[in-house]
Amino acid sequence: MEIGSITIKKSYDKKIGTEVLFKKTLIIIALIMVVLVLGIMLTLIVQSIPSMKSLGIKYLWGKTWDPVNNVYGAYPFLLGTLLTSFIALIISIPFSFAIAIYLGEYNPKGWLSNLLKNLVELIAAVPSVIYGFWGLLVLVPLVRTFEVKFNILPYGIGIFTSSIILAIMIIPYAASMGRELIKMVPANLKEGAYSLGATRYEVIKSVILPYTKSGLFAGVLLSLGRALGETMAVTMVIGNTTVIPTNIFAPGNTMASVIANEFTEADHTLYLSALIELGLFLFCVTVMINVVGKGLISRFTNK
């Protein structure tokens, strides 16, 4: 009897032991995620200290980037990133809102809307290097003929071409977010408007869009986050020059693409550190945009 109860107790203890071990493993792994993100942040900060120390805040609006003479200014890349992202955003918004309204309101069910929904999601699935390759060999010549016609210097590559590629790439993010939100508009609000004699256009304009306003804005923010950090497709078609772009058809460079191009060539500490400071800046901006965007959306879905 006694021996029996001891073995039972032993196996019981063992079970408890594994259970505790299992719970601890889960906690450690959850901690790893936090540590990972803090680690990324710290690494970026530590590695960009040399550049922060010697270049200071002036770095951000320095207009020349000349690694040979050790002069670093991030302004051309900041401008390039802002230009490409915002032009891409402006091009993409009509399309993504159209998809969101069509799939959320006009045609939420059925094979046609399913097909469109899946195709739009596949747009996000195509690797960016393939967009870049296609852009380089198809879109660039197209833009060049267009530029010849309108008497602009026919680079082909440049800010405008990158913006078009970026616009295609970011459409799915705002579109799928918008579709979900527009579907969530309460039916009684829409029915109320219809019963007052509103047309479909008026329902969309004065019920659906105001109701989903903050959520749609969040979707656009998330697209912007994507556009800012996108590297490969932009690198392949933007032209990679450190000269400040004079117009939107000129070649330029973005923060992400200058890192991609010059990181492995950076042969002294300050050069490398200046590039990493760009990375740190990119990291901070995209993190802020993402956290704000996600916050807006979760506030919207919980109301």
Binding site: K23, M33, T43, L44, L119, P127, Y131, T199, G279
Partner: protein
């Protein structure tokens, strides 16, 4: 009065037309890209293409065997690293909905999802490549694994949240220890949702180039050693597409076709498996 109503109805119809036009116009570039790459790539793919390494410029023939093998190895190792961590973190988040650690952990996952891939490349360069002193395939795998984590964690969490609580309560009532409840009851029930998350994450990283630039780096020769630089499909496409040689463009088109169809296929598989779960990915 009547004219006014007519005007409003016509305006509404016009808007509907414009919206439908814009919505379907979006699919044009996607279809154009798929058709163009198919047309350019299909003629390049043959047995030699799949089994030989690239030849120097000027010589005819050569293939992308090094990139195919490299991509597979890098993605495989990335999956081995990311899948267990991702699933366990997902379990933790779905089991502990409140609490400080899950709040911070969830925030970390959100942040990680938004980090540009090039930044992850930089960080892994300083974590692995610089201390070791050489570019290596394993550092590429680690960079890709970091990018897989948020997707796997999110899908695991969302799938497990959908399971009825009674399932877990019944198992606990039978005095089954907690870890067996999770591993033998909860996980098997949600496995198809979790699997589709894993496939989706593989589809996302298979085409990633930016984090590999400073980690796996690329290699014109066949290599199976994870501690040495290794070629991968996206790296090969990037390097050869931006080169001025037509022979190399041909290789890049073939590689782009293989990569594109692998990624699209993985996405379609995910779509088919998530239908059952209705998980928001």
């Amino acid at each position: 009065m009547n004219a006014n109503v007519n005007f409003r109805v016509v305006k509404s119809k016009i808007l509907q037309g414009v919206i439908i036009f814009f919505a379907f116009l979006v699919t044009v570039p996607l279809i154009a890209i798929i058709i163009y790459i198919f047309k350019k790539g299909i003629s390049k793919i043959n047995w030699t293409f799949l089994t030989h390494v690239p030849k120097p410029v000027g010589e005819i023939g050569g293939g992308i065997a090094n990139a195919l093998l490299g991509s597979m190895l890098i993605v495989l190792v990335a999956s081995i690293i990311a899948i267990p961590i991702g699933i366990f973190c997902g379990i933790y988040l779905s089991e502990n909905k409140g609490g400080k650690l899950s709040y911070w952990s969830r925030l970390a996952v959100d942040v990680l999802q938004g980090v540009p891939s090039i930044v992850i490349g930089i960080v892994v360069y300083f974590w692995i490549v610089k201390p070791i002193g050489t570019f290596s395939a394993i550092s590429g795998s680690i960079a890709l694994a970091i990018m897989m984590l948020p997707i796997i964690i999110r899908t695991t969490e969302e799938t497990l949240k959908l399971l009825p609580n009674s399932l877990k309560e019944a198992a606990i009532a039978l005095a089954i220890p907690y870890h067996r409840v999770i591993l033998k009851v909860i996980l098997p029930c949600g496995i198809s949702g979790i699997l589709s998350g894993i496939i989706l994450s593989i589809a996302r990283i298979a085409g990633e180039t930016a984090p590999l630039l400073f980690t796996a780096f690329g290699n014109p020769y066949l290599n199976t050693n994870m501690s040495k630089p290794m070629q991968s499909l996206p790296l090969l496409i990037f390097n050869y597409a931006t080169s001025p040689y037509d022979d190399w463009h041909d290789l890049a088109w073939g590689a782009a076709l293989i990569l594109l169809f692998t990624v699209l296929l993985l996405n379609v598989i995910t779509k088919l498996t998530t239908k059952k779960w209705n998980v928001q990915l």
